[in-house]
Amino acid sequence: MITSESIKLSALTGRIQQALNDAFAAQTYWVVADVTNHSYYAQKGYHYFDLVEKDTASSAIVAKVAAVAWGNGAVRIREFEVVTGQPFKNDIHVLVKVSVSYHQVHGLQISLLDIDTNFTVGMLEQQKQQTLVRLQTECADFIRKAGDHYITRNNQLQFREVIQRIAVITSGNSAGFQDFRHTLEHNRFGYTFQTDTYFTVVQGESKAELVQQKLIDIYNSGIAYDAVVIIRGGGAQTDFLLFDTFLLGRAVAKFPIPVITGIGHQKNETITDMMAHSPTKTPTKAAELIIAHNKSFEDAVLEMRQRIIIRSQQLFSTHYQALSALNAAVINQTRNIISIQKEVLHHYHHTVLHGSQSLLVKHQRELMTVSGEILSTPRILVAGKRNDLTNLIANIRAFNRLYTQNRRGQLAHYETLFKLVSPDNILRRGFAIVYQDGKIINNAGTVSPGSNISVQLHDATLTAAVTGKTTHDERGTDI
């Protein structure tokens, strides 16, 4: 058996090559693995590293293979680093596309053809979200989420009116810091600033503690900084995972001085940005923000100055106008008063003159009326009295005539009466008076035939003797 037939090594390797080629040629595989033993040859652009698989429980290595990336693979790694902000290095978890080949000298070769950016981004994003959740839960007293942004103690702080005293956390004389300082110092408004730099390493996740320490230093300095500016070291556009750390996020969120970030990444905000007072994209922008803040203060002051100027001039104009109006009012109203008084005096003048004259005229008229009455009435009165007298005389005459007539009538009546009854008249009508013994008898009692009687007639007296006697009925001629 010892002397058995031998073949050349190359024949063997050739056969291995043949077998592997047969099995893997033109085949590629997407493999999930961790990176270890990474080394990078910048001159050649080669990456040498091992891909390993660890047991999820024990972290014991269950598979391991050496891998290399050059040419196109190296290009893809660079792209990956730019997109993810994650440098290709040990202990990262990646999804890589590989091919398997065998080289008769170098042996088994796994070549990295491509690396899945999204896988890592997703991974990182997942980590970031976990960190954010942790911040909210563990630091609820100064961090809470509102909508799609976070409210922290720091971003609830108010900037002072002017930001002039600044603490800068940066790494060495990084380009970012130079940009920041240049922008601040050469502002076109001439604003001055006092900047204190707190240098530290701001690359690599593991440096979060250092950055936190700088914040503590700032706080302990006792200087009343208006703001803290965190500027990333600059240079490569990679490796700002530091700013997604829980530690730094918590420190910034809790910090009592407004924090301005100028980390200089292109894509997503870091957790530090989210927790900070004023995140900006770049150090230059951070400086510009500060200048703009001060400018807006000065603008406000100048606007106030303008207001004071305009308003005070308006105030003068108002007062001049008011004075002028008062002046005019006093003058006009005074003239008015005088003119009214003049008119009223004139009126009284007129009233007194005309009133007194018409009063006199009225009295004169009254006097004329009364005197007219007094003068005209006595004549009428006297005439009336005279008339009365005349009437009285006429009355007396008339009454007298009547009186005399009546008397005369009375007398005539008696005259007639007595004529009628006078004996002469009776005798003349045929009556006679009989006497017996010288006495007139008016009955025949004493007369008897033979008696002597005398009968007186109208024109004579007869003496006679009675020859007979006849007694009459007493009636007859008696009326």
Partner: protein, 71 residues
């Protein structure tokens, strides 16, 4: 003829009285004649008195009227 004392009034009254007596027919013819005679005297007296008075009054009135007219 007539007493100075006799007045028209008295005369007239007497006349009236006489007239009354005669009217009562109690007066005898003897007395009648006498009464009539008295009455005639009285009437005469009254008439004279009346006439005299009338004349006097008329004169006064004439005078009064004359005065009125005259002045």
């Amino acid at each position: 003829m007539m007493s100075e004392e006799l007045t028209y009034e008295a005369a007239y009254n007497e006349l009236q009285q006489i007239a009354a007596e005669i009217e009562n027919e109690t007066v005898s013819v003897d007395v009648l004649a006498e009464r009539v005679k008295r009455a005639a005297v009285l009437i005469e007296f009254c008439q004279q008195k009346l006439r005299a008075t009338e004349t006097e009054v008329n004169n006064i009135i004439r005078q009064m009227e004359g005065n009125k007219e005259g002045k």
